[in-house]
């Protein structure tokens, strides 16, 4: 990895250099009743709108690579025959400016399921291959626990990662393309002092976490506590609304619907991201539901993320971004649920 140092003010130059492309980054979306600012990812046209010091966005950036709704194919009908047309829905490259380590880690996890395995998903793959990612360092929010999930720093999956150190940036350069763009900025080589400062910044960040999840032996504990009463309690609270999955940067499950045009000349097959908390997630034709109670569905969500995925990929499907807990109206948060399952409620 190549490291470069540049003045904080140069980041605007970087933005301008990249702005011939469509840039997606954190912007302000309104004000919470408690006075704090609400952020979300959106297309940014003006550097002034880019809020690099955001805490956490409400939604992840997944709409840009794993859209909530996507056309899987269209059919055209003629004379009792039909043709199927598939379009992966990638038309232009995107620059993601200001992704935090958790969100880049989330992409890396999604890559494993959606680009690896038996049947790589070209809809995702085509978009994923057309991204230029500028990561940005962050400070813990009251609800994030990425360090517990090992996602507070990111080793790959980006082009450039910027760590803010006082009034300078340390840039980790991961791709040749990023290297060439940085050549147009005023940068210098990182010195030993910079390396020390980097470590200091990192350890300061670590000391700021207020929220934690104990993941030791978690896969086994989840199995042991499969029948635990706490699931029922959480289940009673759950609204089965699917909000947690929608804001989650790693939730990818979906449902498919087909619809025919009013003149029967076309049809569409539409995918919609789903959520395992929704009542009919595991319902099959004829009405049998494998998870009829909200507690079994909520439990499944934790099993998939913190047990099953770990077995399959040796890492959890949760990056600890804290979004689901923030968005959940019933205040169901990962740290609390896991603590209660471990029997160590705070």
């Amino acid at each position: 990895m190549i490291f470069k140092i540049f003045q904080a003010s140069e980041v605007e130059t970087l933005f301008e250099l990249l702005s011939v492309n469509r840039i997606v980054g954190p912007v302000e979306k309104g004000r919470h009743v408690n006075g704090s600012t609400l952020y979300d990812f959106d297309v940014v046209y003006d550097f002034k709108d880019l809020k690099l010091d955001y805490g956490q966005t409400i939604h992840s950036a997944k709409n840009y690579f794993l859209p909530y709704r996507e056309n899987l194919c269209t059919f055209t009908f003629e004379n009792n025959d039909w043709q199927k047309h598939v379009d992966f829905g990638a038309y232009q490259a995107h620059v993601f400016f200001g992704l935090h380590p958790c969100d880049i880690n989330a992409l890396n996890k999604l890559d494993k399921v959606l680009m690896g395995d038996l049947y790589p998903n070209p809809f995702y793959g085509a978009k994923r291959s057309n991204m230029f990612i500028v990561g940005h360092s962050c400070l813990p929010t009251p609800s994030c626990f990425c360090h517990s999930m090992g996602a507070d720093s990111v080793l790959g999956g980006f082009d450039l990662f910027l760590t803010r150190m006082e009034d300078e940036y340390m840039a980790e350069v991961r791709s040749a393309r990023a290297y060439h763009i940085l050549e147009r900025l005023e940068t210098r080589e990182a010195t030993h002092e910079d390396h020390l400062l980097f470590r200091k910044t990192a350890s300061e960040k670590r000391s700021l976490f207020t929220c934690e999840v104990d993941t030791s032996d978690l896969t086994k504990i989840l199995d042991m506590e499969f029948e635990s009463e706490v699931w029922k309690e959480w289940g009673d609270r759950c609204l089965s609304c699917g909000t947690c999955a929608n804001v989650c940067p790693t939730c990818y499950c979906y449902g498919v619907e087909q619809e025919v045009n009013m003149d029967f000349s076309h049809a569409r097959k539409v995918k919609q991201l789903y959520s395992c908390n929704l009542v009919d997630f595991a319902e099959v034709a004829g009405g049998h539901n494998f998870r009829p109670e909200s507690s079994t569905r909520l439990k499944y969500r934790y099993y998939h993320k913190h047990r099953g995925f770990v077995e399959a990929y040796e890492e959890s499907l949760c990056v600890g971004c804290g979004r689901c807990g923030e968005a959940c109206l019933a205040d169901i948060t990962v740290p609390e649920v896991i603590a209660s399952v471990r029997g160590s409620e705070k």
Partner: protein
């Protein structure tokens, strides 16, 4: 005039349809006309043979009857029964027909004499509690919404004509609201029935920063106890939740119980 068409080799008949209205604002019917861009395609899908608001000719021979509005008078019950007899498929169009709609707001007074007096004084006028049409006749299909969402209606009617089974979303409005990446109304300090209301409107209101009022009725797994808890925790007056639950009649008993509870406590 039934035109023969096929889809995947299965014959598709162009059904004769009628639109009828009981007590309502007639907005749901109007939504069909409000479909400027696709109106002509809609007309190729069905043959409209009875539509008082839009045409003079009327026929009592129809395959599908769309009935808008709730029943609030004896003559409406009679009309509804006649429509049921004529129609192969009876569709309840909009929240008034499905749940009683805003019309049932007067039911909460229980004293209809007071209601009449409040509006008409001593002038004699006939009315009774507003009820959904399913209280009087079997209903084959319900299309929710106040107003109905035209895109949804088109999808549903296409399926109806094709003979492709129709199912409503089983998840609440929050799903669609999140997919539209809205800021949650609760973050803005406003109440919202999104977590308990059946989706399908594509979060019509919340995408416009208006909290959901539950016009489409409850989602299958609606957790109302928890929503009440949330409203309390967020310091939003309970009354504002009640207003919404009560507005369209979809939450029937739950809303009545809540009113009873609040009135007892105040």
């Amino acid at each position: 005039m039934k035109t023969e068409r096929t889809f995947l080799g299965v014959p598709v008949v162009k059904p004769r349809v009628g639109f009828f209205d009981l007590s309502s604002c007639e907005g749901c019917q109007l939504q069909i006309l409000n479909n400027e861009a696709t109106l002509l395609s809609f007309l190729s899908l069905v043959e409209i043979v009875n539509f008082r608001e839009g045409m003079k000719e009327k026929s009592d021979e129809y395959d599908i009857a769309f009935v808008e509005g709730s029943v609030t008078r004896a003559d409406e019950e009679e009309r509804l029964k006649r429509i049921r007899e004529n129609a192969g498929t009876l569709v309840a169009l909009g929240s008034c027909a499905c749940f009683g709609g805003v019309n049932q707001l007067k039911n909460r007074f229980h004293d209809l004499e007071w209601v009449k007096k409040e509006v008409y004084g001593d002038f004699p006028i006939e009315t009774r509690e507003a009820r959904p049409i399913s209280a009087f006749v079997p209903v084959d299909l319900e299309i929710y919404g106040c107003p109905i969402k035209k895109e949804e209606v088109e999808k549903i009617v296409t399926k109806l004509v094709l003979g492709h089974e129709i199912s409503h979303p089983n998840f609440p409005v929050c799903m669609e609201c999140k997919a539209n990446e809205n800021v949650c109304l609760y973050d803005l300090g406003e109440p919202c029935l999104g977590p308990v209301t059946r989706a399908g409107c594509d979060s019509w209101c919340t995408s416009n920063r208006m909290g959901c009022w539950g016009c489409r009725g409850p989602a299958p797994a609606a957790n109302l106890e928890q929503l009440e808890e949330i409203i309390k925790q967020k310091n939003i007056p309970q009354e504002r939740l009640l207003d919404r639950l009560e507005c369209f009649g979809g939450f029937g008993e739950a809303a009545r119980k809540m009113r009873h509870r609040l009135e007892k406590n105040s």
